[in-house]
Symmetry: C2
């Protein structure tokens, strides 16, 4: 956590001056995300009509038939065309198919499987070739992104695409513990992942705040540790199947030895300090930790993982290992005696001993161990995988020592940072100080959706669309780094994700309706479009939250990358680069500012009758005042007036005050207005 802020600032600076991109012109014109490795565009069209049919050939897994059927449904849904095929199965016949899907063999849902495909769209036919049905599914998503329309109807752009992922491990971590995430949330996000070619769902299933898996061996784990909010084994199997049908691995995480309060509710005797324990309701790093020095702990985990490793078929098992405070170990005399007797010099080494014991258990159950970067310790075998979260250094360290590793540092989407920051965060930038062999250790990365401040209602708006940009970083060539083009395509991708049931767009207005108590939402929307939630770990520092605090306030409706604010600030930059030729830009800026100036009078009556909005009243007023300042500045610039220093100082003081976070949000247009003010004052 400590390094994240400086890293972020550094990367933002880098981002601002970054314009490189060996992006082919072809790919830029299309709306593909992630951009394929090779695209040749032939600038014609395959017209889609009600004769469009598909045939799957070769030797695929059954999953491709359902995926193809769903592809036809999505095409029909977008176009309104009554496509002729019902449910495509292995025994389906199709004479003269317009689309042929050729698959050589069933894909395995495991790390490193071939996901490449070749997609050829001519004026008369669509041909999709892939070694595995998983590759074919990736290709079908690309085909769906090639759909376009003109006055004559719908069509696919004609192309020849050869594509394969840059990294084999492209994940999204879903924390179902801080707030429980129901099955439908997981499923719709699996659909979203497949749409942008992610292939690992890392499922964070145990925490201080909840143990989320039905455990038959130790049913008290879920009965006492979950408030009744857990996944049944039937649901877990269903989700794993659902993911597999999209070529997505499901890697579970059981976070030990720290972050373990919910386990210890039922098993206080395994803790490093006396109980009793209750489910943790607050956020943070807590002390309850398994006792690594008693055999009962390993007997417990031996039986636990025997069951769990069967339930989850993936080769990898994540054991967490992060943020062990060590306090319970420091104060337990038996543990201290054990360390002395066994020549264990510090807590990190003791945790490494614990990990080693666990490793044996996992290996017995044919699993490879994954953990957060704290598990990196000289004694560990090279089979483990290190998930780098505290800083990029641990990624490089691990690779240099020959450990395989995945990057999450810089992909913490819960921290409400801008898309550009995540997008430019490359697991293996061109100047990575590693040998070719060491580079092989870098498997990819994972976006992490920690769930302190998200509910099932808001979580999609934190995952999407930013995770699509991360997905591109992990799939596309490293040279694909054009921010403007990324934002153009991200906007379209975000819209398209709605067809999968994702709620990141539609829940926004719903939340505004609730916030206004069903009054006109436009004035509130005008403000919220300019607000972002406070970033990094500020939110929890400003107010004490529990796991049952409401997540329905303005801060929860606000999103990262407040879109109107970003556009406004960009426009200010463009305008100020050459104000004399910026009449049109100035006009648009004025329109924005005039609306904001007038907005407070419209929003105030809404605030007065919807007390949940009281906390933004001063923000709304500040926006009006700052917009007035911006209008004055624009007028000055247009009329070549230069106000004096006193005026400047007064305005800057007002702007500074307006830039202060309130209601755990911040006004993102202040920097743009400040630039106008400084410009007119000659600063």
């Amino acid at each position: 956590m400590k390094n994240i802020i400086t890293q972020w600032i550094l990367l933002m600076l880098t981002g601002c001056i970054l314009v490189t991109a060996n992006l082919t012109q072809a790919a830029q014109e299309l709306n593909l995300m992630p951009i394929p490795e090779q695209v040749v565009q032939t600038h014609s069209s395959f017209r889609l009509d009600e004769q469009f049919t598909a045939l799957v050939q070769g030797n695929p897994d059954n999953r491709i038939y359902e995926y193809t059927t769903n592809t036809l449904r999505r095409l029909a849904g977008r176009t309104g065309l009554f496509l002729p095929q019902d449910f495509i199965t292995r025994s389906s016949k199709c004479e003269h198919p317009r689309m042929e899907i050729n698959v050589q063999r069933p894909g395995k849902v495991e790390l490193g499987e071939d996901e490449s495909y070749q997609l050829l769209v001519t004026e008369t036919a669509v041909t999709l070739n892939a070694a595995t049905d998983i590759g074919a599914m990736r290709g079908l998503e690309t085909l769906l992104q090639l759909l376009d329309a003109d006055e004559k109807g719908y069509f696919f752009h004609t192309v020849e695409i050869n594509d394969r992922p840059r990294f084999p491990w492209r994940g999204l971590m879903i924390d179902a513990c801080r707030h429980f995430m129901p099955v439908d949330m997981v499923k719709r996000n699996l659909d979203g992942m497949a749409a942008v070619k992610l292939n690992v769902m890392h499922w964070h299933l145990s925490e201080d705040q909840g143990f989320r898996v039905e455990c038959n061996t130790f049913p008290q784990l879920h009965l006492q540790g979950s408030d009744g909010l857990y996944y049944t084994q039937a649901q877990i199997k269903d989700i794993i199947q659902y993911a597999a049908n999209r070529g997505i691995r499901v890697m579970p995480e059981f976070d030990i030895p720290g972050h373990a309060t919910s386990w210890l509710v039922a098993f206080p005797e395994l803790a490093s300090a006396p109980g009793p324990y209750t489910i943790e309701r607050k956020w943070g790093v807590f002390d309850p930790t398994f006792n690594p020095t008693i055999e009962a702990t390993y007997t417990f985990f031996d039986r636990f993982f025997a069951e769990i490793c069967t339930l989850f078929p993936d080769d990898y098992m994540h054991i967490g290992g992060d943020e062990n405070s060590g306090k319970q170990w420091d104060t337990n005399p038996d543990i201290q005696a054990f360390m002395q007797a066994n020549n264990i010099k510090d807590n990190h080494t003791l945790q490494s001993y614990f990990n080693g014991r666990l490793l044996a258990i996992l290996e017995k159950n044919h699993k490879k161990m994954v953990g957060w970067d704290e598990i990196l310790h000289p004694g560990m075998p090279k089979s483990i995988v290190i998930q780098s979260w505290r800083g990029r250094e641990s990624l490089i360290d691990a690779a240099r020592q020959g450990y395989r590793t995945i990057l999450s540092n810089g992909y913490y989407i819960d921290l409400m940072q801008p898309t550009a920051f995540h997008y430019l965060n490359d697991p293996m930038p061109a100047d990575m100080p590693l040998t070719d062999q060491e580079k092989q250790c870098i498997l990819g990365g994972e976006a992490t959706m920690w769930a302190e401040y998200v509910s099932p209602e808001t979580v999609d708006s934190r995952i999407w669309p930013r995770t699509a940009a991360i997905a591109e970083r992990l799939w596309s060539p490293g040279t694909v780094r054009d921010l403007a083009d990324m934002f153009r395509r991200l906007n379209i991708t975000s819209f398209r994700l709605e067809e999968l049931g994702l709620t990141h767009i539609k829940n926004h207005d719903m939340m505004l309706r609730r916030l206004t108590n069903n009054q006109d939402i436009v004035p509130l929307q005008t403000l919220v479009e300019l607000l972002e939630p406070v970033k990094i770990y500020t939110r929890g520092a400003q107010r004490d939250y529990t796991s049952y605090s409401p997540l329905t306030r303005v801060v929860d409706a606000a999103i990262a990358d407040a879109p109107v604010a970003r556009e406004f600030c960009e426009l200010v930059d463009n305008y100020l680069a050459e104000p004399a030729r910026g009449e049109h830009s100035a006009e648009i800026l004025k329109q924005h500012l005039q609306i904001w100036k007038d907005n407070h009078d419209k929003l105030l009556p809404v605030i007065k009758t919807s007390p949940i909005l009281a906390e933004i009243e001063s923000l709304s007023l500040d926006l009006a005042n700052c917009a007035a300042i911006g209008l004055t500045a624009l007028d000055n610039i247009g009329q070549h007036k230069r106000p004096d220093k006193k005026w400047l100082d007064e305005q800057l003081s007002i702007l500074k005050q307006a830039g202060a976070p309130r209601a755990q949000t911040e006004l993102m247009v202040i920097p743009g207005i400040e630039k106008l003010v400084r410009y007119t004052a000659g600063h």
Copy 2:
């Protein structure tokens, strides 16, 4: 079906002249739906703050603790208040609770259970008393509807409410066969049902188009009859528990002997004509029917129901029985011989024989039989329940013969009829020609959501909010019939249902975004707000649909009771009642008409780049033309001009043409504009 149209016209006429209502003034000022039996409003407030706590006392079922916890979450969600309680359980302590919930005994989720409650809100305390926890849950929903806000904050209106339902059977039928409805759709609609105090989910689980239940006895039923779209037994149990936790019964329907194609895919030998059979893809009444004359049929059902009656704990089992075409029976010589040998004179009697055999099987499994009104036959015992759908006559017939009965005729929400029609459709109007004893047979009613033309994406917008009006009909005193007040409360109720995850509002804009290919949706919205899908059974008559046809066109985004159109037509009536005093009304009408007149120019470019909208181009143009006519008519009226007959005829001809359905929708403002035109011409 045949009687529905005339019935509807008749009831609409009745509705227009209906103004009665013994509604207390108190209830009218509140936003309660359904309106309670007795409300005394004491015109003060209980202020809600962050000290609000709840205590459950007495001897309830565990479900009330979760329900109370969820009630606190919903209050926190609306108000942003950080309420202090985490998860309320039987062992929760709470000193000085602000809300006391007193329950005498655990409720049974069965027909006729006590759902009454008393809710007392004073300035200092909330007290909820109920015989059962089910009654308490109904009271908690009422409390949630009492929440209001002013500048000082949130509060409950102070009241004394004594409430209980008018009818014990208040249902919503969900057809999961024509289109499969996933678990989350069922759950969010169960939440919606509980919010408006419905207590039966009738689950239509087998049809020509699909068999939707995992059957262990005969797995080929779901494996061959469902395209993989079925509920596992674990999911069914989960849903039944979820419903029970809301005091809602789940009554399954297995529709036999007709509507049976999907069963016969795996068991053609049980059909009345030789197979093979494939899953039906079209809509309508089909011939495949079980053979009631062979013992194999009863052996099959004996084993089938032995499993199914255990899976579903409700006392009632619905066996369908509707729309048996009889064609396979007429043409099967063995069946004809059987009828002759057994002195069975017609198909209805043969079906009654079949039902009698089934009845014995159900009774052996401790179930009471329910069926559509076709099952009414002199020989049947009085234990069965008749669901009246073909006409109100069958309801009266059944009651007169001493059969218990529920009304669905008039509650077919799939037919896109107006809320007022459903609302005024009373299972037991004041002039019902029945004795008091016969009236006891009328148990209530059910809204039926047949699923030919709905997908999981659109279905909520067909169920809600109209089903809330039906729920009021079934719960509230029969004298509650004020349409204007109902619409006022329905609007608020509809908005509140969003907090339960229902998608009837939020999916609308999402569909418009897809229809416009993510362009500005306002022009399309302006048109769609005035459109309704064609009603009754017109949609299928206009175009051939299959079970996999897209349901993403304008007709699917349009809703019943196009709200802006209704308001416009009402305003026309008000204005024309006294034009001299209607300057303000005329101004609003002009604003509407001007927007519509200008809308086509804005919508046309969207249509041109989004071919799925091509089918509404002429509707959009017609709206512009008709709006221009309306403006002329308004001007004439204002200036006391009277145009000649030729003008009138020309305008009426244009309006008539504009009133013709296209894209399976119709423009609902034409009647209003026509009234303006006729008025100005002196007609």
